[in-house]
């Protein structure tokens, strides 16, 4: 459980270091376009970032004890909303973009209010079918979605800010910063949710549903809040994805993508609400791209699966890659293992 007591404990390095550690990658990622403007690198980072937002959403829902396999559906809703509004109806791009997250959130709230009544495995199955339902709607609703031909999505218009000309068509740097901004905002919001009172409530619901309910926690309310928050940000991610690829079709967001989002969260480490999914999605996305270049057909999926299985075997119980370094550290410095929670080492009298 994330400690939301930092005001109560006067100073504790365990509460301070995440902020310091989190600042380092943010600064590095902000500076990446200064060092390299290679399209391949930026492309990889943009798409990793988009998947990271989806994986963050998955992990937030997981925090309430629910296992959603429908996150790709919300990416599709976001992507289609943005494409339909900006291209077909000709609305301003930024309005369409903002609405894509809002529409996705509203759909998540509506579906969540119904579907979250059943918990556990039933919820997983229903969200799994939700992915398929959204895909089939996208395929069959010809007049709006153009069926399997898909829709053209255009990048945002150029922005002129005095000396600064932002042209989304010229190179990937504007998209890179847009994605980074989304990842940072999502990360901050979710980190804060996990750290404040709601994080405690989520923990309680996942740890012991019966007890939580008998202490006056309205399970449905908090499940729907988590599902909606995840829906909003996943919708934005889907909109960026569609506009970055300049096309959206029913094939882009299917079952495989939903499962991929889940795997990214698991491999990165579900015990961490923000860092885990981001690490997991970056590692798995880059790995997938690299493996796809191997000459033998099908070998990439095999190796991809092998990596996931290896992580599950050696870093189990939701620890994931986020726990890799602490584990190596513990192996090197045995005495660190003696570090205990304060009070736990005290003898029982």
């Amino acid at each position: 459980m994330n400690v939301w007591l930092n005001r109560f404990r006067t100073f504790d390095w365990r509460n301070t270091w995440p902020k310091v550690v989190a600042a380092v990658p943010v600064i590095i990622f902000l500076l990446i376009p200064v060092f390299t403007q290679g399209e391949i690198v930026l492309n990889m980072l943009i798409l990793s970032g988009i998947w990271a937002v989806a994986a963050l959403g998955f992990t937030l829902i997981l925090r309430t004890g629910q296992f959603s396999l429908g996150q790709a559906a919300f990416m599709a809703i976001g992507g289609y909303t943005s494409a339909i509004l900006s291209v077909v109806l000709g609305w301003p791009w930024w309005v369409a973009f903002l609405l894509s997250g809002i529409v996705s959130g509203i759909v998540a709230m509506g579906i969540g209010a119904v579907v979250l009544r059943v918990g556990g495995i039933y919820f997983s199955i229903i969200t799994l079918s939700l992915t398929e339902v959204i895909r089939i709607i996208a395929q069959q609703w010809e007049p709006v979605t153009h069926g399997s031909r898909g829709l053209i999505a255009n990048p945002p218009p150029n922005i002129d800010l005095g000396p600064l000309h932002i042209n989304f068509m010229a190179n990937s740097i504007p998209f890179y910063y847009l994605t980074l901004l989304l990842v940072i905002i999502t990360g901050l919001v979710f980190w804060r949710v996990g750290k404040t009172r709601m994080g405690g409530t989520f923990f309680a619901m996942a740890a012991n549903q019966t007890l939580a309910e008998h202490e006056g926690i309205h399970l449905m309310k908090y499940r729907v809040i988590a599902f909606t928050l995840a829906g909003v940000f996943t919708g934005f991610a889907g909109a960026i994805y569609a506009n970055y690829l300049t096309v959206i079709s029913p094939l882009i967001f299917g079952l495989w993508q939903s499962i991929q989002i889940m795997m990214m969260s698991i491999v990165g480490g579900m015990s961490s609400l923000v860092a885990g999914p981001i690490i997991g999605s970056t590692v798995l996305y880059v790995l997938g791209i690299q493996l796809a270049q191997l000459p033998i057909y099908g070998i990439s999926q095999l190796l991809y699966g092998a990596v996931v299985v290896l992580v599950l075997i050696f870093l189990p119980k939701g620890t994931g890659l986020i726990d890799l370094w602490p584990r190596i550290w513990r192996k090197i410095y045995k005495e660190v293992e003696d570090y205990e929670i304060p009070g736990e080492a005290r003898q029982e009298d």
Binding site: M1, V3, W4, L5, R7, F8, R192, V193, T196, R197, M198, G200, T201, F203, A204, A207, N208, T210, L211, A212, E213, H214, E215, G216, I217, H218, L219, I225, I341, P342, G343, E344, E348
Partner: protein, 254 residues
């Protein structure tokens, strides 16, 4: 109008009546004991009042409001809080963390203000932390504040169960065998605390097997047998009633 009132409450599991046509009233401020042999429906009764089960027939009303069939969290918000017969806790969380989660009804600020951590929310949070520490001190858990619940001994875990219920601002506390697995001294400690909690104006409904505990603390006792109420009254008188002795020990054959 009674404080808490049960009217012909029945709960059927299939055709088996776990609780059958039970009616009684609980007055504000009393300690009502519920006794009965194993399987007589005591825990089912608490499960019905707390909303864990819905009654098949009959009504339960609290302060004039019908609460039968309401969701557990709504019933808790009205002020009816239960504990569990087994140690149902957030095992990985430290005591202060689980207590703060359980105290969320003490906050007036909504989740959005908590998310932003506004000044007024922080003040309120500090007040709640104070209350939590007070409750932990009251139940002798203060020294364990930063330990995870799973490392506590059984007795302390029982006390934590009561502490978690107290954190939810109860008007009526439903205690399901708070002294299970305790020795005499530990049970005495629980009894003292139940008295202290009662003195704060919290009505207590106490399920108990341990007669000594019950005679010490209860102002009134209800005896259940096979899901039916067989006696109701002063605890000392109850213990001598032939029906009660029969339910507990069987009849004497001559």
């Amino acid at each position: 109008m009674a404080f808490l009132e049960l009217n012909d409450v029945t709960k059927l599991f299939g055709k088996l009546a776990a609780v059958e046509d039970i009616s009684f009233k609980v007055e504000q401020g009393e300690v009502l004991g519920i006794v009965g042999p194993n399987g007589s429906g005591k825990t089912t009764l608490i499960n019905l009042i707390s909303g864990y089960y819905k009654p098949t027939r009959g009504t339960i009303s609290f302060m004039g409001k019908n609460i039968s069939g309401l969701r557990p969290d709504k019933i808790v918000k009205l002020g009816l809080v239960r504990t569990f017969q087994s140690n149902v806790l957030y095992e990985k969380a430290t005591l202060i963390e689980s207590m703060l989660v359980s105290s969320h009804l003490q906050y007036k600020k909504n989740d959005f203000e908590a998310f932003l951590e506004t000044k007024s929310y922080k003040d309120e949070h500090e007040k709640v932390v104070g209350n939590v520490l007070q409750t932990l001190q009251l139940l002798d858990l203060f020294n364990e504040t930063f330990r995870p619940a799973s490392v506590l001994s059984h007795g302390y875990q029982r006390m934590l169960g009561i502490a978690l219920a107290l954190a939810a601002n109860p008007k009526v506390l439903l205690l399901d065998e708070p002294t299970t697995g305790m020795n005499y001294e530990e049970a005495q400690f629980v009894v003292e605390n139940i008295k202290r909690i009662n003195e704060q104006g919290i009505t207590i409904l106490l399920i108990e097997h341990n007669m000594k505990v019950l005679l010490d603390v209860a102002t009134r006792v209800i005896v259940l047998s096979f899901g039916c109420k067989i006696a109701d009254g002063n605890p000392h008188e109850m213990m001598n009633k032939p029906e009660v002795i029969e339910a507990y020990l069987g009849t004497e054959t001559v």
